[in-house]
Amino acid sequence: MTDHSFPKISRRGLLVGAGALAAAGTRPARAVLNIDINQGNVRPMPIALPDFLTGGPTEGDTGRNVTAVITGNLQRSGLFAPINPAAFIEKIANSDKVPSFPDWRAINAEALVTGRITRQGDGRLKAEFRLWDVAAGQQLDGKQYFTTPDNWRRIAHIISDAIYERLTGEKGYFDSRIVFVDETGSKDRRVKRLAIMDQDGAAVRYLTRGDDLVLTPRFNPSTQEITYMSYGQGDPRVYLLNIETGQREIVGNFPGMTFAPRFSPDGQRVIMSLQQGGNANLFVMDLRSKQTTRLTDTPAIDTAPCYSPDGSRICFESDRGGTQQIYVMSANGGAAQRISFGEGHHSTPVWSPRGDFIAFTGQARGSFSIGVLKPDGSGERVLTQGFHNEGPTFAPNGRVLMFFRDVGQGPSLYTIDITGRNELKVPTPSYASDPAWSPLLS
C-alpha cells in the first residue's frame, strides 16, 4: 500500500514544487492583489448644504433662498439625500476656506456645498459655490455667476445642475421650465389657461386669459415659443405663442381642425394632425416658408406625432391596425412600422431627448398607465398605473418624466424617474394638465 502511494505523492510533490517555482519565476516579486467590485449600492447620496453666506444683511434672505432651492432640487431628483442642517457640526464662516472634513464625515456627508452671494457695486448679484468631496477631502467643482438680483432662482437652478452633473455624470434638468394647462373653476365650467413655471413648480406665470380652451402646449426646443391647440368659437386650431412678447399666430391655413402640434428638434417646423372627415393625417409645416407637407394618407386617425431627437424619424399614434398603437416612420413620411405590441392601447408617444426611449400613455383593463419602450419596440415597461394617467413629457436629460393624473376631482402634475421610482407630485396653484417640459434654458 505505502509502496504504491509513496512514489505518487513524491511525483505530485515534485510537480507542485515545479509549479510553484514556475509561478514564482513568472510573477513579479510582489504581485498586487486585484479585487473586482462589480456591484454597488445605489442610494441617494448624503449631501450637506449649509446656507450660502451673504455679503451683508440685504442679501441675507437670498443666500438662504438659493440654498433652499438647490436643496429642493437635489432632494426631488431622488439621487441625493440632503442632510438636516441641525446636524451640522462645523459652521461655515468663510466659503473660500477648506472646510473641516472630519466634522462633515462625522455626520456621514459624502458631499458638501458651500457658497456665497454678494452684491456687486453695479447692483448685480455674484453667486459662488464650491462642491467638496468630504470623503476624499478635496474640491470637486467651483464656479461663480453674475446675475440681476431678481434672477436668483435661476442661479440656484444652474448651481443645482452643476452639482448634479458633477456627482452623477449626467446632465442636469433643473434649469428648465414647464408649460402646462392651468385649470380652475367647477368641473362643467372649467377655465383653462396656459401657464409656465420652473420645473420645481415655482414662479408660475399665466400666458393666456382663459377665454378660449387650450390643450397640448409644446415647447420650441430652440426659442421662447410654444405651440398649442386652442378653440373658442371656431374650429380648434394650432397656434404659436411667443412667451416673451405674448404674440400669437395660427399655424397653417387648413380647412379643418388641426391638433396635437409639436416642434421639430431644430424648432423650424411644426408637425401636427389635420382632421379630414372621420380621419386624421399628419402634416408638417415649415415655419419660415409656411410650406406644408402631408406625411400620412390613411383612412385612419394618425395623431400625436413626435420627432426623434435627431429629427430623422417620427413616432405617432394611429388606429390603422384597429386599435390605437404607436408607429415609427421616417420624418419624410413613407412606410410606418408598428412598435407597440403590449396589452391594450398605446397613445401619446414622446421621444426621449436622449433618443433611447419612447414614453407613452397605455390603456388596458380600465386603467391608464405611463410607460416607456425602446424605439425598436422592445423593452416595454410600465412606470406607473392607475385610474387616470396621461400625457408624459421628458425632462431635458431624459431621466425624469412628467405626466398628469386625475384621481377624481381634477388633474395634477407628477414626476417619475424612468426607472419607475421616485414618483412625486409637482406643486401647482390649482388643477393642472398637459405638461410640456422645456429644454435646458442655458
Partner: protein, 285 residues
C-alpha cells in the same frame, strides 16, 4: 472455569489482534486519498469562479456519462413499469403463460369460455395461476432491457468525473498555507466596498464602465497615500465614476477585516470598479 477464562482471554486477544491489524491496515488507505492534486489558482481566480457572472454565455451541460447500450430505449421503459390492471398485461400474461405446459387443464376451458364473452370475468376467475409468474420475471427476463432501468437523466453532480479533473473548485489558494490572506478577508473587504460604493446613475448607458484604483494601505487598515487611479478617461461620466469609487475607498477605512499578520499581501491592492453587471435590467441603449 480456567478453560473458560483461557478461551475468553484467547478470543479477546484474537479480536484485539484482528482489530489492530485490520484497522491499522485501513488507516493507511486513508492517507493517500488526502494527497489530492492541487490546482494553482489566485484569489482573484477563485473569486471569479465562485461569484457567478450575470452576463456569462450559457454553458451547455456536459453530455451524460452513462452510455446508452440499448438500441430502442423508449419501449423498455414502458414495459418496465407494468400496470397490473391493464388489459394488455393480462393478454401478455396469458401469452407468457401459455407456452408453459404445467397448468393446461384450466386454460383451454376458461379461455374458450371467457375470451369471446367478456374480459372482465377473466380477471376474476382466471388470474391466479398465470399472474404471479409474469409480474416479476418481465423486467428481469430480457437482459437488454436492464438498460431501461438505468437513470438516463442528465447527470448533475457527476461532472466532476468528466473531462476536467476537478470542475468544482475547492478552496485552494495560490499559496495555501494558513498564514495567508484568506478568502474570507478578501470577501469581507469586497462586501464592504460593494456596500459603500454608490455608482453614479449616469453610468447606466456609458461606454466606459470600469475604473481601476490602486490603494496602498497602512498596517492599521487606513490608506497610506491617496488612491491612484490607473484607468485613464475624461468626461463627466468618467469623473463621476472615478470619484464615486475613490469615495467608497475613503469612506471604508479603516479596513479592519485585513489582519496585520498578512500585511505584506494587502499593503497594495488594485480595485476594479465595474458597473457592467449592475444595470442589467435597467435601461441601456
Amino acid at each position: 472455569m480456567r478453560k473458560a477464562t483461557a478461551i475468553s482471554a484467547g478470543l479477546h486477544a484474537a479480536v484485539l489482534l484482528w482489530a489492530t491489524l485490520s484497522f491499522s491496515g485501513k488507516s493507511f488507505d486513508v492517507t493517500p486519498a488526502e494527497s489530492l492534486p492541487v490546482d494553482f489558482i489566485s484569489e482573484k481566480d477563485f473569486s471569479e469562479m465562485t461569484k457567478g457572472v450575470k452576463d456569462a454565455p450559457k454553458v451547455e451541460t456536459p453530455k451524460p456519462l452513462v452510455e446508452k447500450k440499448s438500441e430502442e430505449p423508449p419501449k423498455p421503459i414502458e414495459e418496465a413499469k407494468p400496470k397490473v390492471t391493464e388489459k394488455k398485461e393480462l393478454q401478455a400474461a396469458k401469452e407468457a403463460a401459455q407456452p408453459e405446459p404445467q397448468p393446461p387443464k384450466p386454460d383451454p376451458i376458461a379461455d374458450k369460455l371467457k375470451q369471446p364473452d367478456e374480459p372482465k370475468q377473466a380477471k376474476t376467475e382466471q388470474p391466479l395461476p398465470p399472474k404471479k409468474p409474469p409480474q416479476k420475471p418481465q423486467p428481469k427476463f430480457e437482459p437488454d432491457k436492464i438498460a431501461a432501468l438505468l437513470d438516463k437523466r442528465d447527470p448533475q453532480r457527476s461532472a466532476a468525473t468528466g473531462v476536467e479533473a476537478n470542475a468544482t473548485p475547492s478552496l485552494g489558494t495560490a499559496a495555501g498555507s494558513a498564514a495567508q490572506l484568506s478568502q474570507s478577508e478578501i470577501d469581507a473587504l469586497r462586501a464592504r466596498l460593494m456596500a459603500l460604493w454608490n455608482p453614479p446613475v449616469g453610468m447606466q448607458d456609458a461606454s466606459q464602465t470600469q475604473v481601476t484604483i490602486r490603494i496602498r494601505f497602512r498596517k492599521d487598515g487606513t490608506l497610506a497615500v491617496g488612491p491612484q487611479v490607473l484607468t485613464s478617461g475624461s468626461g463627466a461620466q468618467f469623473t463621476a465614476m472615478r470619484d464615486s469609487a475613490v469615495r467608497a475607498v475613503f469612506v471604508g477605512q479603516p479596513y479592519t477585516m485585513l489582519r496585520p499578520d498578512h500585511y505584506e499581501q494587502w499593503k497594495e491592492i488594485d480595485f476594479t470598479f465595474d458597473t457592467k453587471q449592475m444595470f442589467h435590467d435597467l435601461p441601456a441603449r
